[in-house]
Amino acid sequence: MTLTTDHSRAVADGAHSHGAVKPEGSRAERRTSFSLDDIPVPHGREEEWRFSPADRLQPLFQAGLGASGITVQVTPAPEVTVETVGRDDARLGTAGKPGDRTAVTAWNAFEQATVVTVPAEAVATGVTSVRIDGVAEDASAAHVLVRAERHSQAVVVLDHAGDATLTETVEIVVEDGAHLTVVSVQDWADGAVHASSHRARLGRDAKLKHVVVTFGGDVVRITPDAEFTATGGEVEMVGLYFADTDQHQEHRLFVDHAVPDCRSRVTYKGALQGSGAHTVWVGDVLIRANAENTDTYELNRNLVLTDGARADSVPNLEIETGEIAGAGHASATGRFDDEQLFYLQARGIPEIEARRLVVRGFFAELIHEIGVPEVEERLLASIEAELEKSMSVITGAPAEAPTA
């Protein structure tokens, strides 16, 4: 049995529309390769680039990128080891192949990779922090590998800040029985352009919590892939984004249920404000013919705070077997509700505080799901800062009351 769903383009400018666009073939047939020749520079109309500002990503489509634009600094938990290795290291390239142009240029350009290893059986007592700082405008490539060896446990937080033009690979290997949390925060300064291919492979009974948080930068495009290689695996993908005026934030994830008895949960939520704010969420989940007893659910919700912002949301669930435990998806894009604002203000709460309450409320449950207190606190602070920063945008262009 094959069942494909594609809810395309929940665009919320004025009315909520829900058109249908046919997916360009199955995710199973999408080309992946380590070779630049196999994945050419896109012209922009390809399925995986159709929402993206290809012109702004041009520098990252080129071969031969350097590494002078960024610095990488790791502060490991005591149990965790860090190495810098050459591209010939055999551990690299084991978490799957690049699936698009920026991923393949990243793979072919890096000279040195950062390898973070959580040794077998080790339980990290603190957070391991990886800082990637943009220091110059040179288009650059970076490669980070996070390995959780069997039955280990750890939390690794990647922080992206400063101004950079960066294509990045984050390989994530979760061996049998390991529990790993990887958080990637994109808190870039204005002007940054960032493409990042996260590729995760999970062993037997392995658990990965994958968290993506995107606030800053001009263009951020993250493509997390997760592949199950043995039974009992579990992946929880959580994403939170907040796009301002003229920011493009794109998250395209792919969960590959290639084996039986695995579970995936995907929850992404985003807020948008200001004209030209554009977010894209594409959630591809593939349940292959032999992936019996799969349990999957994916959800994307967007809150459009002002006019002129646009959220595209495309959940895409492909099911090739009838023997599944559960499979579902949901996608909703709504405008900021002026009736909520009125209700809160009618209780004496000033407008800015009322908006803050509503937006925090929108993200609240998701933030608690992250389960890393340091990250949760920072997130709340970042959300406040976003709201503070753009109150002028909000009050200058109030959202229309939804027609009942």
Partner: protein, 255 residues
């Protein structure tokens, strides 16, 4: 003595076809401690009056004045009106997901009083008020109005009236959708607020049954955007028997 004074109030609502006049000269004075009931047919403008007083952006005051204790209410923003002592228990309270009742109540109380309520006494006060309204303590942790039944929403509105201690409260059909027990419980809440704070009440209703619990000092018949007749509590009984026919006829002629 604080009063809420409405003078010759004309209000239009924004529609796609342009502004549509709804209120056509409302005159009403409510002194603190008084309870005024407003009764009138569907669509006569009762909720419009309530919303306009609270400052809902959909409604535009085209002429007239409203003062609260001499202050120009119409010059204030929605939240300023609430902080000045006006409270509106809504006909259809709004859901705010992800915001707990406890957080909401504390935030609103802090805004209205201009300072955070004392931690220890506030918790007690909230729990006590919820108990009085037979609200399960678990409601404190639920999102505001989310998944509340119609009756639970109304209790939550009156809970706020008791906790925020407004000077004037407008209750827009707080009684509709309540079963007999809930009606009594909610009415007791309003009466407690009246006893404890001398709040002036404007009670919008279709039914006299709530007036058996909450005794009005005055009853106003609202027809076609203005008050067509006023009287004492006995007027409510007459309306129940006779309906609005004679007013609606008159309204239709003048319209």
């Amino acid at each position: 003595m604080p009063t809420l004074e409405i003078r010759d109030l004309h209000v239009s609502v924004e529609t796609k076809e342009g502004p549509k006049p709804i209120l056509r000269g409302v005159d009403l004075t409510i002194a603190s401690g008084e309870t005024h009931a407003i009764m009138g047919p569907n669509g006569s403008g009762k909720s419009t009056l309530a919303s306009a007083l609270a400052g809902h952006p959909k409604y535009t005051v085209t002429s007239g004045t409203v003062t609260l204790d001499g202050e120009d209410l119409l010059a204030m923003t929605v939240d300023e009106r609430a902080r000045a002592g006006l409270f509106l228990a809504m006909q259809y309270p709004v859901e705010v997901s992800g915001v707990s009742v406890a957080n909401f109540l504390r935030t609103a109380k802090t805004a209205i009083d201009g300072q955070a309520p004392a931690l220890r006494t506030w918790g007690k006060e909230v729990r006590g008020a919820m108990e009085n309204l037979r609200m399960d303590p678990a409601f404190a942790e639920r999102s505001v109005n989310e998944g509340f039944s119609g009756g639970e929403k109304k209790r939550h509105e009156i809970l706020q009236m008791e906790l925020f201690k407004p000077r004037f409260a407008i209750l827009d059909e707080t009684d509709s959708g309540l079963d007999v027990d809930a009606l009594r419980i909610v009415s007791e809440g309003v009466n407690r607020a009246k006893e404890n704070t001398e709040v002036g009440v404007l009670l919008i209703t279709h039914y006299t049954r709530i007036l058996r619990y909450i005794k009005p000092d005055f009853v106003h018949v609202f027809v076609d955007g203005k008050i067509a007749e006023e009287g004492g509590p006995e007027l409510a009984d007459r309306l129940e028997e006779e309906g609005y026919d004679k007013y609606v006829g008159a309204g239709a002629v003048s319209a």
